[in-house]
Assembly symmetry: C2
Homo-oligomer: 430 residues x 2
Amino acid sequence: MKKEKNLISLERRLFFEKGTKLAAGSFLFSGLFTSLNAKESVALKVPAWSKSLGTVTAANLYGLPSPFEKDVLKEIRLSGAPKGYVSNSIALTSANSPISKIRGSITPNGLFFERNHSGVPVIDPKEHRLLIHGLVKDNIVLSMEKIKRFPSIEKSYFVECSGNTGISKNSPPDKTLDDMYGLMSSASWIGVKLSVLLEEAGIDLDKAKYIIAEGADGATMARTLPISRAMDDCMVAYMQNGEAIRPEQGYPLKLIVPGCEGNIHIKWLRRLEVTDTPLFARDEVSKYTDLFADGKARQSTLVMDVKSVITFPTTGDRLPEAGFYEIRGLAWSGRGKVKKVDVSVDGGRNWETAKFSTDPLSKAFVEFIYPWIWDGKPAVILSRAVDESKKVQPYFKQISDARGFNSESHNNAIQSWSVNAKGEVHNVRI
Amino acid sequence: MKKEKNLISLERRLFFEKGTKLAAGSFLFSGLFTSLNAKESVALKVPAWSKSLGTVTAANLYGLPSPFEKDVLKEIRLSGAPKGYVSNSIALTSANSPISKIRGSITPNGLFFERNHSGVPVIDPKEHRLLIHGLVKDNIVLSMEKIKRFPSIEKSYFVECSGNTGISKNSPPDKTLDDMYGLMSSASWIGVKLSVLLEEAGIDLDKAKYIIAEGADGATMARTLPISRAMDDCMVAYMQNGEAIRPEQGYPLKLIVPGCEGNIHIKWLRRLEVTDTPLFARDEVSKYTDLFADGKARQSTLVMDVKSVITFPTTGDRLPEAGFYEIRGLAWSGRGKVKKVDVSVDGGRNWETAKFSTDPLSKAFVEFIYPWIWDGKPAVILSRAVDESKKVQPYFKQISDARGFNSESHNNAIQSWSVNAKGEVHNVRI
């Protein structure tokens, strides 16, 4: 009975520290409930669903969300695309995760973002093979059944498209959270360490400098990763949040390159070639690069730097009244654990450290919460993450001063939202 | 590059310690892959799905598993029920989770077990209310919208039906893992601490001894919980693994009573009454009790004791050849964290400590793994968990000696599986 007293006292302390006066006898959360007298309580309306039988259980069943959650969906988000638009273009097969409608450090599988370059192949796992060849003692082929017999590990990692939050000088002014931040998700992956498979094939570590990973989709999407990273924490995953990896995430096999841009997490993984030279594939020289102001482009950025974003309240939300709110958000870093997240409710003049909902894990999302008493006056709220490598999330101006405005990739800028006196929330750049 | 060496060396050490001789130059996992010459590697068959476009992305989408995973479903398991049976009886609306086909410490929402007493009500969250009344200063009513404004917490907890693993003297001899252990699941829940809501209503802690919790289903399922537990770690949850709680788990609101039997996790929660006397509801006096040999019944067992089970290999599995396998399983305790799990592969004569896939959390599932070189000879494999309260999982004989054979509830016995020389796995009681 000690802990929840502390929880209450934390909120109350915050309340008093902010200098707001409590009316005599009123509680911090009063306004959040309706008081009834005893007679009213007894007479509380009994709804129809308490007076009838519900739906019966089917014999063979994969459960789905409530029909009342029918608007919580992945969505294609293209400027100018009409409502209900269905892409029939290869280049446009991506869908954003509804970040604003979900919670916590793990993305539900049904709502994991997707980005495909030749659509989603329907792969029979019995027919699927992984080839490991090149600078190895044995060129080896593995079936899914055999891959699952190797020692397995379970790790939570985020996947973020390098184009996530692609803001530029002329970005539309009131893009929503889901528009801007929907190309990222996080899951708990189960699979085999890549290094275990490479060692088993007898990798020649004296000569090997790169691994070329290739997918079995129509694009045969291929990328190069440095051998040091391949032998570190990469994994070949076949489970996502406890069940088989989803088709659009690479069923039956996905390469996980923790902390790196989404595109290098090769989906439908079919081939790993150990080489001494990069592949220079289209998607690593013409795309997924950062074009600077001087016309030179940086290739192989790979690592997604420390980043955070407030997910409530954001554009489109409206705070109904002054009072208590949780400011909530996500933080992550491709360089390890998020060490802390600071939140400002006055446009960046003053900062206070938020609390985490769960213990931060390396290269995974963590949810942060900042208890806030909104006084009903205009406010600008923003978050800033710091990771264990001591990298600090920058303002957009710091990024554009360094890189110019040519590239929208690998943007980890601080995001601000304004709250006006009516409680309406808008996107604002400071 | 150090860690994966350690992983390999762990398996290799185990291999040598067991006294098995390696053929010159062979690897621990040889037999798990096919070696090819360079020409064969280049000529590896390119499957049809690498030469065509996949399916395009729909505009509004809730993702589902691959069609090749169509057998991974919740299932009604009743002795004598025909294949494809659909229950139309209120009493029989339960479905088991396919434990044998999933992995890790979190159950995917689509495969979470269910047990309903009047089917699954379809509740409009806008209409749903939670009433808190009785020995409180204010009788209060909360809408879902307001409940979500209170300080929130996120915690992983298992839910296990007290009738899970209901073995008796005459249990059928070769029940499967999913038959026996399917009435349990684990999730990460987000909601409000129950104590926060009770304090806000002004609970009279001098007089209050019990909380009666009631659901909004047709059964108005109600249970009594002691005030000490209610004020400890209970929560009123509205999110399950990042998205809204599933209909069959209590959408929009579920009471979580960490570590206690499933039935007291009141689903579709609509009423909390603070009292000084228990409810003595049907489901706490005639059901969910333990009838002993002397005809007396124990009520309010509530806590699910420390337990573990090997989930691979189990009945129905067949090990194709001698060699390396991971023995994998789940462990949990209603009294806190699982401290360790020991595994025996010789019927309980010798035990070795398994490793955990992730850090154990209090009152949640943890997956354990024991790397095993099967020598091709008959073996009996079993697991035994110990929790932080120092409780040790007992053999079934210890339970039946103490309680007799009248009750199949609250059975946390050690489970054994036998492996014969053909690699076939069967259920065996030792």
